[in-house]
Amino acid sequence: MKSVKHDWGTLYETDVLILGTGASGIGAALNSTGKGLDVLMAGKGTLESSGSLGGGNDHFMAVLDSDEPFDNMESFVNFYMKSAFGYRERQIEQWHDALKPCVKILEECGVEFLRREDGFYFRSVGFGQPGAWWLHIPNGRKIKRGLAKRVRSMGVTVLDNFQITRLFKKDGKIAGCMGFNVLTGEIAAIRCRTAVNCLGWHAQRCTNNSSHNPYNCWFTPFTTGSYFTLAYDIGVPIVNADISCRGTILPKGWGAPGMNGINNMGGHELNALGERFMFKYDPMGENGIRRNQMMGTNQQQVEGYGPPFYMDMRHLNEKDVHHLQYVLMPADKATYLDYCKARGIEFSKYPLEVEVGELSLSGMLLADDNLETPVRGLYAGCNFTSFSGAMCGGYVAGGHAAENAPSLDMAGPSEEEILAERDRILAPLNNASGTMTHSDFEDPIRQVMDYYAKFRRNMPGMAVALDRLNFIDGYRDRVRAKNLHDLMRVHEAFEILELCRIHLDACMQRKESGRGMYVLTDYPEKDPALAKGLVVSRGEEGPVYSWLEPAAK
């Protein structure tokens, strides 16, 4: 790995650059290393604990090609080609092909998958999928440590604590990135041949849940949209920035994953009247698609049948309910049992109070069969869902990035670009006359989103929201960071603002309801003609839109 010190900071040179060190970044590192190339991964956290996987995970989705129903590539491809717009069959096939290698790696790194009495993997059904694809992980708390140990031992250069603030391209090809160390403030620029974008799919802190603490959310609150905004800035289009927003049912007052385990083990959701209502909204009830559970629960709330809402697990057998609370939940979030203790929660005795959580924003980067974006040499590592999708998506993208690297030139930002970005990065820190904190700037973004653009909205309201977000943008130069911690949060806040604007503008292009995790009161019906992906690109005078043709399957 070549690195040179300059007056402004450090310049690194690598064949493959991995942006982000979460599950996707790990996957990319595992499949790009050992091929005679320099591989450098850079991320805001520390490799051992960064991303949503840092605090654990209790499930890994894997089709394993056994004799069990729907346990094959065709079913897997069919499900994803039907459930989302924007995927390509070849992409999903490669996700499938990465599943078994990734399961093997996880086991080698100490991950235990629950097994049946006959010795084969125990799996359950989730998210309206046709087959039992979800492996259970009883010891999921230390997954990230095990994977990190393996990656570090493979000779990958890891820049921990490094917040990436900008990507660069040259002649249509990825050239590198810049950012700063959030602990030391050191600026760095990285030149590369290829890059894998693994900066995280679920952008959080865009709206609030009932706790009104944006950091108390479903997935890691430190993923704030850079996967999309940095790529968008250099010309990568985003697919479905509108309808890909996501959310989940949360334990009341507490941001945590885990609802997949509760749903697929047979939990019943009840409203305030004690009625089990989810079959009104999904033929598979609670274990259907997550959008239906969110929108169904929200509908019940609008109609006054809650809050409170509950997940009732008292009917489960003693073994299952114990496994759920004491094995799976703390594997998904390491402090789950602390929360249960603090609230006196016991799944076998009392229903768990839950709430409709915050809305996170998402989408996917436009990419070809090999996950390469229209910016040559830049690969989309976070286009697939869940821990499985993150790790396998990174794995597939990393493999292609390594394969392609030798044929592409080393490029990087110019000295002029480096100095300009350094000044931009540090501007809030040096803004002596600035009067606003990052929270002063970021909180009003959520105020706007919560009020005008949450689960029920309308076109005029979103237009007002967009106008208000543009107004907030006008205060950008007033923000001051008094230290590096604040500087990190300021740049996160800028990402959140940008992604919310992209999302709202995209939502205004799709005049229907029923696909995104929101209802448009002025367009309440699903329009069959809009069963296709919306693509937004950065234009000279604002967003430019086009539609993907419906997939063949």
Binding site: E48, G55, S211, G253, A334, D338, A342, H485
Partner: protein, 70 residues
Amino acid sequence: MPPVFHDDKCIRCGMCVRDCPAYILALDKEHDKTPHLIEEYKHECWHCGNCRISCPKDAISFEFPLYTLV
């Protein structure tokens, strides 16, 4: 508010500070390197438990803020 450090068990190794993804923990460098939560940033705790996962001595427990309990 989370996390709570137990001085009798803590060996001042600093792993909790290293692995906190929120950067809201610090060591008392002037005295004995005892870890502590930076008061100003306590609301940024995600309760992910990374500090405790990395703690070799089980010296960390959690006290949940009131807004998670109502």
